[in-house]
């Protein structure tokens, strides 16, 4: 049987053009945001949109002057890194125990953990607010770190559990036969083999905490506010502010978007609990 020559090149070219066109259209708001950040306020709202102009860093300077961007950025870094570490510290041992010493109840415990995620954060707002106030954790980075870690904990346990479950039991048994204690097992088997899981779980927690707005808006003010809260303060603008909004937004999202690009693969694996390969 002879294979017919297929007009392969045409299809390929069409696919390339359509895919590029659609994806550029899809991220157009981001491209627009990026460009606007380098305009002056007057250029920013010019109609029709100005595409050629001399880029300026004016808006970035104003953002820093107006609200001390660096302070908010620092809070974002502290709370997201802190909550990731705290979350891993709590979730990893639990996931390890569930994956390697499953009991009748393990599935129920996992389901229960996930179910706590079904309660909208706003449901716990009043009590958490009152508790934070009583313990002087209101508007503190420590308070936010703890709250972020706890709200991500169920997802983290799930992700780590599904990763650990894929490590063959035989390897652990072999290590145990060789006389490795819990610590040795942890160091020589679990850490090297579970590194991928720990990394993807950490990555996701970092992204979620960095972008978290609800708790940040409601539990923090001038002191511990994160970038998500800073951006929200632009929601009731006075006067011209597109360039400043764009500059502040760009600074807030750039680190995590770039970070996201490099961690796509781990995130898929993690987010789908390994159910999609």
């Amino acid at each position: 049987m002879s294979t017919r020559p297929v007009p392969f090149n045409w299809l390929q070219a069409l696919r390339t053009v359509v895919a590029w066109g659609l994806s550029l259209l899809y991220v157009f708001p981001l491209i627009f945001l990026f460009i606007t950040a380098f305009k002056t306020e007057l250029q920013a709202i010019e109609v029709p949109t100005l595409w050629w102009f001399a880029p300026t860093l004016e808006a970035f300077h104003e953002v820093q002057e107006r609200s001390d961007y660096l302070q908010f950025a620092k809070n974002s870094v502290i709370t997201s890194v802190g909550s990731t570490l705290l979350g891993l510290l709590l979730a990893a041992p639990a996931a390890y125990a569930m994956a390697f010493f499953p009991t009748q109840r393990t599935k129920d415990v996992l389901m229960w953990m996930l179910s706590t995620k079904f309660m909208p954060a706003v449901g716990a707002l009043v009590p958490v607010y009152v508790m934070a106030q009583k313990t002087h954790l209101l508007d503190s980075t420590l308070g936010l770190t703890i709250v972020f870690a706890l709200s991500n904990l169920p997802i983290m346990v799930w992700m780590l559990y599904s990763h650990f479950k894929e490590i063959p039991h035989e390897i652990l048994e072999a290590a145990r036969m060789d006389g490795a204690g819990l610590w040795g097992e942890f160091r020589h088997v679990l850490v090297p083999l579970g590194m991928g899981g720990l990394a993807s779980t950490g990555l996701l927690c970092l992204v979620l905490s960095w972008n978290e707005a609800f708790w940040s808006l409601n539990l923090s003010g001038a002191n511990a506010g994160t970038l998500a809260a800073l951006i929200a303060s632009y929601s009731s603008p006075e006067g011209l502010f597109w360039a400043k909004l764009s500059a502040a937004s760009l600074l807030a999202i750039a680190p995590i978007v770039v970070f996201g690009w490099f961690s796509q693969k781990q995130l898929v694996q993690g987010l789908t609990f390994g159910a999609v390969k």
């Binding site: 945001l33 041992p93 639990a94 309660m119 039991h169 999202i253 987010l271 789908t272 159910a275």
Partner: protein, 294 residues
């Protein structure tokens, strides 16, 4: 299925290892829940702390008969439903488009996934001001170019605006998962089907879409968890308005607690949200939990 190692291993250590996570999570759940239960039965206004006392189910009655309540429930379901539908359909379409290799595929994938990492507050304000502003916004300019009257999204179509913003963020997530799933499609089977003269549509219906059933279940489950509590997008753009047009349950509770300072009614609302969330959860676990167990 218990493995031999399980029986041989001591029971204490695994329990100790689980304890920190289980205990903190339990406290994180139960303490607010009990406090909310308590608050929901007393008169508790943050502005009038002296007027307190047990009032039974009055707060619940007030919350449920609030004219905003029906709208909020409807909006919550509408938002979840439409965002999931858009992201599943759009995500599958985009994933199929970028599944075959072409020049610059890696970059296209990177571009497509970007919105998922954008902070919800940035996402919302960017759309509200720069895309949907009825005078300067990009949409307005396009409308004018066609000689049409620009739409004032925030005033006339607030819920649509919220759906657009949230979908823009979550479609890439669905797409990313579908792309990954498509990579594991059996090439040989597809080849065989093609040899047997199956059309592109047949292949899609009988091979590709069934293969995507599980990833779709995963996407629906995860998006539902996150979409039940959409807040930042509404808070920073419409503020739930105009009127209650874009208020969801999460935002309604927030409004009672921090704008009306009525912690009692807010707590009653929060308990309602817990019930709503659990109804959804039971439904989900039944539907999807099984497919994930396979």
């Amino acid at each position: 299925m218990s493995l031999p190692a399980t029986q041989a291993a001591p029971r204490l250590i695994p329990r100790l290892l689980q304890a920190p996570a289980v205990v903190t999570l339990f406290l994180w759940m139960i303490v607010p829940l009990v406090m909310t239960l308590y608050f929901s039965t007393i008169r508790y206004n943050l502005m009038q702390p002296e007027q307190s006392g047990f009032i039974g189910l009055e707060n619940y009655h007030y919350f449920i008969t609030d004219p905003s309540f029906g709208t909020a429930v409807l909006n919550t379901l509408l938002l979840i439903g439409s965002v999931i539908a858009i992201s599943v359909v759009g995500g599958v379409a985009l994933a199929l488009l970028v599944n075959e290799p072409f020049a610059g595929r890696g970059i296209v994938r990177m571009l497509l996934i970007s919105p998922f990492f954008v902070m919800p507050t940035v996402n919302a304000l960017m759309w509200k001001h720069m895309m949907m502003n009825p005078i300067y916004g990009v949409f307005a300019q396009i409308a004018q170019w066609f000689g049409a009257t620009p739409i004032d999204f925030m005033a006339d179509w607030p819920m649509t605006a919220v759906v657009i913003m949230v979908s823009w963020q979550w479609l890439p997530f669905a797409c990313l998962i579908f792309i990954t799933a498509l990579q594991s499609l059996d090439r040989e089977q597809m080849e065989a089907a093609r040899m047997d003269g199956a059309s592109w549509l047949d292949q899609l219906r009988h091979l590709v879409l069934p293969h995507l059933a599980r990833p779709v279940a995963v996407v629906v489950m995860i998006e539902m968890i996150f979409l039940l509590s959409v807040f930042a997008e509404i808070f920073t753009t419409t503020g739930g308005g105009p009127g209650d047009a874009s208020t969801n349950v999460a935002f309604l509770i927030f409004k009672q607690a921090l704008l009306n300072f009525d912690a009692g009614v807010a707590s009653a609302g929060a308990l309602f949200a817990v019930v709503l969330a659990n109804v959804v959860a039971i439904f989900l676990v039944r539907l999807i939990g099984k497919s994930l167990d396979k």
